[in-house]
C-alpha cells in the first residue's frame, strides 16, 4: 500500500482532472482538487468522496490563485508530493485564421499555466528532495494536422518545456512526466473546445473542411472511452516508487499514431495523414478540402 501522497491537480472540474482527483481520493491520498469555479463545479467531483478531497479555486493564468493554493496546502499538510498539470483547452482553426489574442490565450493556459504551477511547487519539492510534476500532454504533443496548429503547437511546447525541466530538477530528486492520451470522450472536444473567431463569424476560407472535421471528430470522440483509465494511470504514476519515464502514451490511439510518427519519415507520415480514410481527424478535413477544390 503506497504512503498517502499530497497531490495538487488543476482543471479538476471535468475530464481527466476530475477522474484523477476522484481516483486518488478513493485510494486514500490527500487530494487538493483545483478548478476555476469551485462553487459551480466543486459539488460534482466531491460528491460521495471522503474528506481527504479538498476543492480549491485555481486559475492557471492567475499566479495569486496558484500561490494561495500552494500556501494553504503547505500550512495544512506540510508537503507537496505531486502536481498534476491538467488544465487546458483545445482551440481549433487554421493558422491563417488564428488571431494573435487567440494564440496568446492558448499558450497562456496550455503552456505558461503549467510553468506557473510548477514554479510554485518546485522550491518545496527541491527542499524535500522529492516530488513529481505530471504534465498532461496528448498525442497532440508529438503530431499535428490541419486546424490543430495552435493546440498542437501548445502541446509540443509543453513537451519541450517538460523535457528541459526534467533535466533541470533531477539532481534534486524531482521527476517530470508527460502523459500522452489519445482522443477520449471528455469535454475537450465538446463544451471545452473553442473555435477561432473567423470560424464562429463565418469569415474563414477553411469553413467547409473545419466544419467537417469538427462534426467527424466529435462523432468519433463520443464513441471513445471515458476518462477513468487516464485517471487511474495518473494515480498509478503518483504511487509508483520506481523512477518514471519522461513520456507515457496511454491507449490504442496513442500507440498507433505515435508509433507511426516515430517510425515514418516526415513525407511518409504526411502521406498517411492525407490519405487516411476515416471520418474524424484527419480524414474528414482532407475529404472536404478535396471536394471543395474539385468544385471550384
Amino acid at each position: 500500500m503506497a504512503t498517502p501522497q499530497v497531490v495538487i491537480l488543476t482543471g479538476t472540474s471535468s475530464g481527466f482532472g476530475a477522474a484523477a482527483a476522484r481516483e486518488l481520493t478513493v485510494r486514500g491520498h490527500t487530494v487538493i482538487a483545483t478548478m476555476r469555479d469551485p462553487d459551480q463545479d466543486g459539488p460534482t467531483i466531491s460528491q460521495s468522496m471522503g474528506d481527504n478531497l479538498e476543492v480549491h479555486r485555481l486559475d492557471v493564468t492567475d499566479r495569486a490563485s496558484i500561490d494561495a493554493v500552494v500556501a494553504t496546502t503547505l500550512e495544512r499538510h506540510g508537503r507537496v508530493d505531486a502536481l498534476v498539470n491538467n488544465a487546458a483547452y483545445l482551440l481549433l482553426g487554421a493558422v491563417e485564421d488564428l488571431a494573435e489574442d487567440e494564440l496568446a490565450s492558448q499558450l497562456d493556459t496550455n503552456v505558461i499555466g503549467p510553468v506557473r504551477t510548477a514554479q510554485a511547487v518546485l522550491p518545496t519539492m527541491r527542499e524535500q528532495r522529492q516530488g513529481k510534476i505530471i504534465n498532461i500532454s496528448s498525442v497532440a504533443g508529438r503530431m499535428t494536422g490541419p486546424a490543430f496548429g495552435a493546440y498542437c503547437g501548445s502541446k509540443w511546447a509543453l513537451e519541450a518545456m517538460s523535457e528541459a525541466l526534467r533535466f533541470e530538477v533531477s539532481p534534486w530528486g524531482v521527476e517530470v512526466v508527460l502523459v500522452e492520451p489519445g482522443t477520449q470522450h471528455t469535454g475537450a472536444q465538446f463544451d471545452n473546445m473553442s473555435l477561432v473567431r473567423a470560424l464562429r463569424e463565418g469569415n474563414s476560407p477553411y469553413e467547409a473542411p473545419c466544419n467537417a472535421l469538427i462534426a467527424g471528430h466529435q462523432k468519433y470522440a463520443a464513441n471513445r472511452p471515458g476518462p477513468r483509465t487516464v485517471g487511474s494511470t495518473i494515480a498509478d504514476l503518483v504511487e509508483t516508487v520506481d523512477p518514471l519515464p519522461l513520456r507515457l502514451p496511454i491507449g490504442d490511439e496513442a500507440a498507433l499514431i505515435l508509433g507511426m510518427r516515430a517510425r515514418m519519415s516526415d513525407e511518409e507520415f504526411e502521406e498517411a495523414l492525407q490519405t487516411m480514410d476515416n471520418d474524424g481527424f484527419p480524414g474528414a478535413y482532407f475529404k472536404a478540402a478535396r471536394q471543395e477544390n474539385h468544385a471550384s
Partner: protein, 304 residues
Amino acid sequence: MDEVVEQLPSQVVVITGASRGVGFETARELAYRGHQVIATMRNPDRDGPAVIAGYENRIQAIRCDIGERDSTEAAAVFALERHGRIDALVNNAALLLIGAIEEVVDDEMHDLFNTNLTGQMRMTQAVLPAMREQKSGKIITVSSLAGKISGPAFGPYCASKWALEGLMESLRYELAPLGIEVSLILMGAYRTQIQFKSTFLTKKLQDGVSAYQAPCEAFVKGEQVRANLNPGVRTVACNIADAIEFPDPLAPHIPVGFDVHRVMPLRQRMTHDEFEAMISSMRNEGFPGSWFGTIEANPPVPIS
C-alpha cells in the same frame, strides 16, 4: 559589380531578421543568384548598408519588427508595391532566451513567444493574401535542432521552437491545396550572432541569484566558445536559396549540418530513456555538456 548570369526566373523574396546571421547571408546569396530581396530588419539605417553593398539593384533594406502586426503588414505592402508579387518568405528572425523553467517569468515567456512563434505567424499571415491570389508561394521557416530536442537552460526557447514546428506543420497541410508550400530549414550548430547579440538571460540569471547560476553560466560560455569554432552560415543560406529556386515540391524539413544528420536518427531510433542517458553523460563544451559537467562538479548539497 554583378557577375551573375541569370539562369532561373528571378524570385521576389521577403526575409526577416536580415541584419545578420542566416538572414544576412541568405539575402546576399539570393541577390548573387539574381533574385530580388526585401531584406527586413529592425534598424535598416544602421544595418541596411552592409546587407545591400554591391547589390543595390537587387536588395531593398526596410524596417520590420515581427513583434508588431502593423510592421509586418507594411513590409508585405512594400514588397507588393515594388515588385507586384511575393514568391517566398523566409521566416528567420528569432531570439534566444536562456534560463531555468523554474525561474522564467511571465513577461520573458510572452516576449519570447511573441517573437519566436507569433512573430513568424504574423509575417506569414501578412504575405498569404498575395500568395493566395498568385496560387503560388513558399513559406520557409528557419528552425533548428532546438525545434526537435530540448534540454536544461533551453526549456523556454525550445518550447517556442517546438511550438513553431507544430504550427508550421499544420500550416503545410492547410495550404497544400492552395499551391503554397511550407518547409522548415532544420539547421545544426553554426556560427551566427544568435549566441551573442540575440541571447537574453532570465532576470534571475542576470541578477546572479539563480538556483541554477553556475550550470547556466557555464552553458552560455560554452555555447559562445563553440559558436566561434563552428563554420559560418553560408551553407545554410545556400540551402535556403536552393529551396527557393527548386521547381519541385519541397520536403517538410530540409536538414543542414552534419550534426543534424547525426542527432536526428538517434532521436528517432532511441527510446527516450536511452536518449536521456546519452545527453546526461555528455561533457562537451556548450549544449548540453557544460550544464551536466557543472552539476557533476557541484551537486546540490544532499539532505542530512
